[in-house]
């Protein structure tokens, strides 16, 4: 019992770390492509971010199960790259179908983002990190959820800032991606400040 308690505690710490100090976007730069292209408006950014939280939590857990119970017994660990991608793609497709069938309204706001997620490196990255760091099942849940929330926070904040940026004068060569990256750098700087909290 005590063991499970400490596992849950560890999962919570890992979750917190994944949101703030080890934010997958701001420290390992995963998911940069949609981050720079979809962060123009708060509403779309929130939609994509929400979809990422959902998909990331479930795919890391599914991939953990697949890795532990399929690939390791078969000694095919190196196949994880292919298997993880297939699982992610299949999961996204499945969710798209379910949402389309039961909630057309949600589909309209979330559905267009789902195909974008299959090629989001952050999703695959989270699964690969989970394998390399040898997380247990419970910690994996915390990690997957935390990474998703971290990504969500980063893109939401970025979209908020960029909306204001429309009215400011930016040097020509820096417009678009350039200024986005500089803002992301400042955000990363701020997020590093959270490290002291974890002690």
């Amino acid at each position: 019992m005590n063991n499970i308690g400490s596992e849950v505690w560890l999962a919570m710490v890992t979750c917190f770390a994944a949101v703030f100090t080890n934010n997958i976007l701001l420290t390992t730069f995963l998911g940069m492509c949609p981050f720079t292209s979809v962060s123009r408006e708060v509403k779309t950014a929130a939609g994509l971010g929400g979809a990422v939280v959902f998909v990331m939590t479930f795919t890391t857990v599914l991939n953990w199960l697949a890795y532990k119970y399929v690939l390791i017994p078969l000694e095919l660990e190196f196949f994880r790259f292919i298997l993880f991608i297939i699982i992610i793609a299949a999961f996204v497709q499945f969710v798209e179908m379910v949402i389309d069938r039961y909630s057309p309204k949600l589909y309209q706001s979330l559905g267009i983002f789902l195909p974008l997620i299959t090629v989001n490196c952050a999703i695959l990255g989270a699964s690969l990190f989970m394998v390399i760091r040898q997380y247990s099942f419970i910690v994996t849940i915390g990690y997957g959820f935390g990474s998703g929330v971290g990504w969500f926070l980063a893109i939401l904040a970025m979209a908020g800032i960029r909306q204001r940026l429309n009215e400011s004068r930016v040097p020509e060569g820096l417009r678009g991606p350039g200024i986005t990256l500089i803002i992301a750098g400042l955000m990363a700087l701020a997020f590093i400040g959270f490290t002291g909290v974890l002690n």
């Binding site: 080890n22 095919l76 190196f78 196949f79 760091r133 490290t195």
Partner: protein, 203 residues
Amino acid sequence: MRDKPYFAVIYMFILTAFFSALLIGFSRMTRQRVQMNEQLNFEWAVVQAFPKIQYQNNQQIHQIFTKQFAKDEQIGAYLYQKDGRLQGYAVPFSGKGFWDKIEGVIGIAADKKTITGVSFYEQKETPGLGARIDEDEFRRQFIGKTIEDGPKPIGIVPSAQTLAENQVHAVTGATQTSIRLEALMNQDIRAWLDAVEKKEVAP
């Protein structure tokens, strides 16, 4: 034939089978090497924790490790034996650093006090900053220090402070790494000390 619906399925199947076969063949070829590398990485760290051990190449490390080190499950450490006498303990430690996991080994002499050396086999701290814990300059400080039988067996303190017998200077600027390294090393050394005491009381 290309327009038939089943063609896509057959095509994909053949392609997957072909590439998978190549990959499985290739991984079988390298598998042994990969496993040996992983094992050697740890063995290297253990041997490094005892700087007096002489070796020329990786093969010798492996030989020394298998001959002179034996795992004692009860105390969670490796016993270093040479010429029929206990020379020391190799105590592995691990935990989360600033960015990622830090894993290493601390060598402690047979008196269970004197540190013979410290080595790391896994760390991804900030290059040029936290990662300097892996440099000789930092690691060498530990040699000859003695651990304290208290809640904090070792200490990593800022470089302005004068050192006690169980303390070393931190890498300048790497505060977060030092705090965590100290905590994770102490946790595992403490656990080892407790296990040793327990074993001595009830052999």
